[in-house]
Amino acid sequence: MNPMPLVLAMLRRDVGTSAAFVALIALAVGLAAAITSQERALRSGSARAADKFDLIVAAPGSQTDVLLRVVFLQPGSVELLQGEPLRRLMSEARAEFVAPVGFGDSYRGNPVVGTTAALVDHLASGRLEGRSFIAIDEAVVGAASPLGIGESFQVTHGHGEEAFLGDQHGQTVSVVGRLPATGSPWDRAVIVPIEFVWDVHGLGTGHGAVPPQGEEGAGAPEAHEEHPSAIGPPFDLATLPGIPAAVLKPATLADAYGLRGEWRTSETMAFFPAEVLVELYELLGNMRAVMSGLAIATELLLVGAILCGILILMRLYRHRFAILRALGASRLYVFAVAWCFAFVLIAGGSVIGLGVAAGITGIVSALFAQASGIALDSGIGWTEAGLAAAVAAIGALLAIVPAALLYREPVVSALRGAA
């Protein structure tokens, strides 16, 4: 028994209707698969973006806010870590490095981040193009930055909508290095010495005398030697300005947990970016479950509606099937033709749906990367394939309904019905 010649003939006969059925199923499967694929891509993309930030220490507050500021370079404000806790942190001996990070400026919409060369080297993983900054007026740019090595620029005060081209600090910075792509918002960043950020905001350089605040000469430190051109640690702890956060690189895993515990105090908070992300993922996971459930329910309703359409279509074919029975076809053959017809539409829609999902996730990932800087791996995995297979399997079961109705159709009445 080979029902396929007739199934293909029926598909050709109703090519428009068949294509519409397939397109609807493909769209439904594509949207549902895109949700799971995108959520997975978001997890892996954000986890990869946070990978290099081992331990973050900041002033007490929202870990999520600090994570968004430090790792994802989102505009916003957090409490500054300053005073004695900051001085102790900068002297932390169990970390390979303690890199302060500072924000507040931008270049053509891209964030300008102040930090130390140690963090730049850490982010580069030995693949830095050019060199790291060794002077206060030098910068390293992310892989996606519009600036090239050797170019000079002036930073603009503020970030995002707050930034105005006319509100430039005036100091010219030269690009001396470029980071490899990290798939994080840091790819678009312009990284300058933290001293530059402090200096352009009138906070000194952390290496000596603080410029007078208010009236000229008032508030000047009394006994600190000034090294305005020095960058990087050791800082002058007495004149160290406040910072939004610091990134610590513990030497070992034990040190990491030890440092996190030690810096969780009433004056500081310390966290691994991964633990904050896990909390976000749990929330995201719940959302995914709800959205996936809704999408699957919609898919099933659609498959049901399409099977109703197929049922109506099969009623139009009942005379043709009666003719086949008169020519010697068995009930099983008729069942097989009707079932295969429905299954080909549903399975075809499911398979094409995976392509639709790949297209949707590709577009959404590109838009998301453009907006956030986080590179998402848009791809279809086994989860999405399983979803499409589940739809096809359920469709295969539901396709029994129209097939069984035709199976039970009395031949003679169908022959007379169209005579």
Binding site: M1, N2, P3, P5, L6, L8, A9, M10, R12, R13, R320, I323, L324, R325, A326, L327, G328, A329, S330, R331, L332, Y333, V411, V412, L415, R416, A419
Partner: protein
């Protein structure tokens, strides 16, 4: 040898009133003969054809083929018997436009196993004078389409041909061709039973059963007109 005896069949109309569809003591169309079934509309001609084909079980009586009661077979075995034994020809051909000419003729081969079916389909089309260079059914005249339908009926080389008004949709020349083909098939030793209003078919028939309200009014057993 196809033989129907004591066939009784009654249907009910939409008001529940029962009426006789068939009441035939014996009907034995002979191999090698063209047997016609005639009568007014609703006289039971097509119903008798369906009974003979194993599609419509009678309420009483039996149909035998070479001594075997076909309604004693299970449905799937009766389907297989019909596939091997009966070739059906319809008034409106009922070809499938989306299939090629050969695909239409070889279609019954997809119901079961039939190696070499496409080659046989081509041979049948040639034998029946169908222009095989035409790519689709829609490019054929109605007479040619009926010849394709006859070729399809012959796909399994069945010993019995049942034709329901095979010339009713055809013009004069095409109808003459189809009559000649049916006559030729009977001449080859097949049992050919034709339901028809066509006087030319009735004239060409070796025997005619005339029905009215499901009952024979003339012609059988084997009273050639």
């Amino acid at each position: 040898m196809l033989f129907a005896e004591g066939i009784r069949l009654a249907f009910s109309d939409h008001r529940g009133t029962s009426f006789t569809a068939l009441d035939i003591d014996t009907f034995r169309p002979e191999p090698g003969k063209l047997t016609a079934i005639a009568g007014p509309s609703g006289s039971g001609k097509s119903t008798l054809l369906y009974v003979l084909a194993g599609l419509q079980p009678p309420q009483a009586g039996r149909v035998t083929a070479d001594g075997m009661d076909i309604y004693s077979l299970g449905e799937s075995r009766r389907d297989a018997w019909r596939r091997r034994t009966i070739g059906f020809v319809f008034q409106d051909f009922h070809l499938i436009p989306e299939l090629s000419l050969v695909g239409n003729v070889a279609l019954p081969a997809t119901f079961g196993r039939s190696p070499g079916s496409r080659r046989r389909a081509s041979e049948l089309l040639v034998a029946l004078g169908v222009p095989t260079d035409r790519r689709s059914v829609g490019m054929l005249s109605r007479g040619e389409q009926q010849r394709v339908a006859i070729a399809r009926a012959l796909a399994f080389d069945p010993p019995v041909i049942l034709a329901d008004e095979p010339t009713a949709s055809l013009d004069g020349a095409a109808a003459t061709d189809v009559r000649a083909i049916l006559k030729r098939l009977a001449g080859e030793g097949r049992t050919v039973v034709v339901v028809s209003h066509d006087d030319a078919v009735l004239s060409a028939a070796d025997a005619t059963l005339r029905l009215d309200h499901g009952r024979p009014t003339a012609g059988f057993p084997m009273a050639a007109e």
